[in-house]
Homo-oligomer: 404 residues x 4
């Protein structure tokens, strides 16, 4: 409803054009190059070409607000660009706006030392290397951050990191060089002051990438999701970010914008699925009628449109609130979109899959792989259950206050 800033409108228009001209046509090329590559974990050559083009056109690092490094867009503005990028699985990387790098770059930008910025942030911003975020652990319910068991222990000028992490997304890629690892440095401190975050180069001795985790049947190469064993890994003390016991605080700061981005990309996916569904049902006949003439199919289209519109408006409202009143005041809205955007997209994708018949579940459309991808979002950064509970807690609190 609200207008975009001039700058964002310009970027929006150029992004749309770039997608049409370069990204969509590159999708099958990318897939083919990847399929034929000797190394599943290396980027197909076309990706570097696309990145170079995007950089040349200034469609690069659009995500960083309030920073000289980024485009200086508000969350509200950037959300609109995110939706466009979300439409293609390769686009976020093309524009150097893909998770988890965006979150990691924000962490470095906001909380990193000058040395950390120089060493890691700059090559990330240039798209030369990739990063991962090592938070979740296989042995505990990581939705409850106090469960985290990885240790970060000071030893002279170094920290020693010990622990097993998984779902370190992106870590399988050959050019992934650095992990931000969350661990406990003081299990006796106050609950939210026990954790720290530390930078661990993936080539440090003691770091073992154990295996790629699959998502349904996809290995998501060349990015992948790694299970990583940090076994007595020693890193210099200056690799600690912000300070001991600040891990939870950093994690909180990292999440807000990331969720908006995920949600808007998810909305982009849903839009593309609805387009695919509409096209399919107008070009297919059964029992003497175009499939688009069956009213139950039409209802599915209508429901999809309604759900997409609602999720988009709520996500934009959350973005706007973050801009105007800050992440903390917006946390009920952020939790709401975290739940509703993936749920909505799964519905829309499932209907599109069903409308495609058996083609919908296979590699001939983006639908099945998008579905699998989005399904993980109901657990990433905390499962739905946790976010619904937060929403309720805030609601009950506000209602109590209103009753006086």
């Amino acid at each position: 409803m609200l207008a975009l800033s001039k700058q964002a409108e310009d970027l929006h228009a150029r992004l749309l054009a770039f997608m049409d001209e370069h990204v969509y046509p590159a999708e099958p090329v990318y897939e083919k190059q990847h399929e034929e590559a000797e190394d599943r974990w290396a980027w197909p050559p076309i990706m570097e070409e696309l990145k170079a083009k995007a950089k040349a056109e200034g469609l690069w690092n659009l995500f960083l607000p309030e920073s000289d490094y980024g485009a200086g867009l508000s969350n509200y503005d950037y959300a609109h660009l995110c939706e466009i990028m979300g439409r293609s699985p390769i686009a976020p990387i093309v524009f150097n706006c893909s998770a988890p790098d965006t979150g990691n770059m924000e962490v470095l930008e906001r909380y990193g030392s000058e040395a950390q910025k120089k060493q890691w942030l700059e090559p990330l911003l240039e798209g030369k290397i990739k990063s991962c975020f090592s938070m979740t652990e296989p042995a505990v319910a990581s939705s409850d951050a106090t469960n985290i068991a990885t240790e970060i222990k000071r030893d002279g000028d170094e920290y020693i990191v010990n622990g097993r992490k998984w779902w370190s997304s992106g870590a399988m890629a050959r050019n992934c060089k650095i992990a931000i690892v969350m661990g406990k440095n003081d299990p006796n401190a106050e609950k939210h002051r026990q954790q720290s975050m530390i930078l661990v180069p993936l080539d440090a001795p003691g770091v073992t990438i154990e295996r790629p985790l699959h998502v349904f049947g996809y290995d998501h190469a060349p990015k992948g999701h790694a299970e990583i064993h940090y076994d007595n890994v020693r890193v210099p003390a200056e690799n600690l970010i912000l300070g001991e016991g600040r891990g939870f605080e950093i994690a909180q700061g990292r999440l807000g914008p990331g969720r908006i981005h995920h949600c808007m990309r998810t909305i982009g996916i849903a839009e593309r699925a609805l387009e695919a569904m509409c096209e399919r049902v107008e070009n297919r006949e059964a029992f003497g009628r175009k499939i688009s003439e069956f009213d139950s199919i039409r209802k599915n289209i209508a429901r999809s449109r309604i759900e997409i519109e609602q999720a988009r408006l709520l996500t934009l409202k959350a973005a706007k609130m973050m801009d105007e009143v800050g992440n903390k005041e917006a946390r009920q809205e952020i939790a709401m979109i975290k739940v509703i955007a993936p749920e909505m997209a799964l519905n829309v994708l499932d209907r599109a899959i069903q409308a495609h018949g058996a083609m919908g579940v296979c590699q001939d459309t983006f639908l099945a792989s998008a579905w699998a991808n989005v399904r993980t979002l109901r657990m990433a950064d905390g499962p739905d259950e946790v976010h619904l509970d937060s929403i309720a807690k805030l609601e009950l609190r506000r209602q109590r206050a209103a009753r006086g």
Copy 2:
């Protein structure tokens, strides 16, 4: 997300205060007076007192945009007021903003002759009389307007009206004086030029109010929903509105804003239901815990908050579009909220009912009667099925255009 106009903000604040000070406290009084009244179809005395107060404070006829008669608010502005009024079943009447009078007044204001305005619009605007809208017929699927069978036939200086209508809401009230009747004057004309609308005084010979229709077990006295037999009713030719064959056109013009109003009132109901639910579950224990501590209850609260927020944003977007690009361009959005707002409110109400236990279905809360009321909205002005189909039609058309 968008700010209200200065005027609307002022009205919004005063409306909230008026509700707290006068309307909510009057609800039990109104109920008691009505229960003890000799005549179910007369208004309890407190209603006239409330109307006088509202009029005195300028909280009166807020609905009419673009007219000297009304407050001149945009749809977007007025929508916010509507939500507040929707919170109490008696409030819309207190502020002379209740359906179907608002729609009827808009019709008269936009399409009525000076004489029609003088005779009917003015007393309606003053709140002295009430009106009804006779559109739906028992014998045919009225969602398809071409099915309408009532006849409006010219005979000299008069029109003769013949037909059976039902769900003429408000017509049971003693002070309901006038009906706008939709009928066919020329069954051979082009499909959407067959219908006319005509003003029929309820005391005209040949008009018989056959019975009140119930909604679930409620008769909705003193307003009621009447089945009316128009049996050779003669009215002066100048009672026709706008001209022969213009009925469909008037109906279309009438619907857009009406739907926004209904939806926003429905959102007001849902908000009040969620409040009631939150209060209940914090003040009730079972199995040793406050009910608000059960996480399935908390999820219901969270879901309700999410659904309300989404429906409100979509309704406000529709209102904004009506203001900026007109009803026609906004028709997909209007159809969407027509479907989603009642559905959402039924969900929220049902959860609130369940959380209240058996109390929830009886007369001790507003929940059961609100539920029944909202349930009718899934059929009023066309059933969900018709609106979903329109949404799909528009979607398929737009997608076709985009594919080129």
Copy 3:
């Protein structure tokens, strides 16, 4: 799937015939007589005629298993008859098989003294008087039986009853003479030994029927749901059933069969709703087609058929288990049908209502009143939430045992 007993098959056939010949045709007569009656709380004369006919044909008191008083049918057999009776709101009373009398009669038959049987069971079995069950209380969450606050205190040869009960269904009827009241005689006893049940004549001094409770606007006259104040009501000590502290035990014994009955009647309602829907959509046109040709309507019909079939099979399985392994072993199944049968019927009814358009919510079909009725079953005898929890508890326990 399993055959009925010979006796049950014969009764089934005769019941079907009786319904067609006597009950369905009597429904409008009953309604008219009731509407025109001076006293809403007296039974329309046709009811006594129907009861006499049913008794004459031996279609009377079919519910009592293992007793000389009843027909000696198994739960499985009787369930089939119950479904038939459930199809008409007046039928259960016609055959003297209506709640809460059936449950009360079972209590008296199984736990009553000879004197109690003589005084209350016999006139109940003859259909001369009616009874109510005073369990639920307005002030506490009665789903947790330990919350019950009504007192039953011994005083010499009498007990004194003090408390406020509501949802004492049937108590508004003029011929309702006796209440079974649940209360606490010893709040210090072990949790499930604190309660007793006692017989309280409704004309005893201190019994005040405060008001009828409504269900979505219906007062359910002449049966009604009463709020009753028991204020220092004195009854002879021999009115206590079974003994002090046995109330919970009696309540448990009372519930199993009652739930089967409710569920099967609910399935009868759903079947009738589906019939009404099918008839409606074949006799109505919109947009140039029979409504039954819209495939979204057809899907609703198909869904309804699937849901009904599934609920019926599960209910019959529960009945069979009660017959073969007893109520205790069948308690997971009983809890399952308690949840699913009302939910299913509400879905089927809601679709039927929607297919009827505005007619569906008013008094012109049985649909709206049936919906309201069934809605209460999601809370009667414990809300869904409690039963779902029991199902989960039993499931987790069994799975634990299987894992060893």
Copy 4:
């Protein structure tokens, strides 16, 4: 509810024991062997060992009713065995009871010539070769069988087959030797007499296996789903099954039992998922509680139990009806389970996935791959939409008949 036959009870017990002793422990071995195999499309060696053991114990070819080749079990009996086999993705092959071989063997047994039986049925029954069924085509909506475009043209002593098929499941396996191909021999015949079925050896000149189709990222090796190009493939005339124009008839006969099997296997999957969920939530803590103590999780368990029970009962009823009144009379029930069993299992699996957190979507449990598998069943043998429509058609017809 109904007892199994003696024979089936014995088989049931031995099957359960075999699963515990041999199949479950073999699952990880099978996976490991497959992962390490040089050829994804060959069977891991342990499979032949398991087959030999099953054959030795007489747990082999249990599916064939009314035939000397099979165990002679009723559909009702066999359904119970099918559920057990469904619990493990490798079990149906172990017992030579896997689709599409079972359907193909039934076709050969019922409609094949002696020579066809000798050549193809016998090695299939011995488990020496595998078969596929080439029905679905990429270019048309194959849910409407009249759309099929593949040609089977007589040319002297041969038939020439031309067409493109996909989703020929099992055809990727190295030991898949024969396809049953559906095609049109006479496009001018009456609608259901245009099609024929013919046996095409996969090594016949002109048969090209173009590629494996994936299901949500899984290639389902070594079985796989093939896209096959039949390009002027010549086969002897005696390869035609039953006769020209009999293809539709064979297809119908093939489907009924196959659907029961699929549904019961699906129920087995759902049971195993519920077990996995129960175990998980009892062994995991978050926020200071076992996950099994969260009541929303408990509700998911209860819902799953309810849905499984209902689907199983309906499937068994359908099986019983097939035994007693035949496939045709049972077709509404068969259509119902075709819709409900996969839907139910998807729900149960999704809840189990969510309860496992991120582990649920990866290769560490069977849940994600089972979900993907079951998702295809909403389209295989006709999409839900077609079956729902059949259910409605039969319902409307029966209701019409009942109204007279």
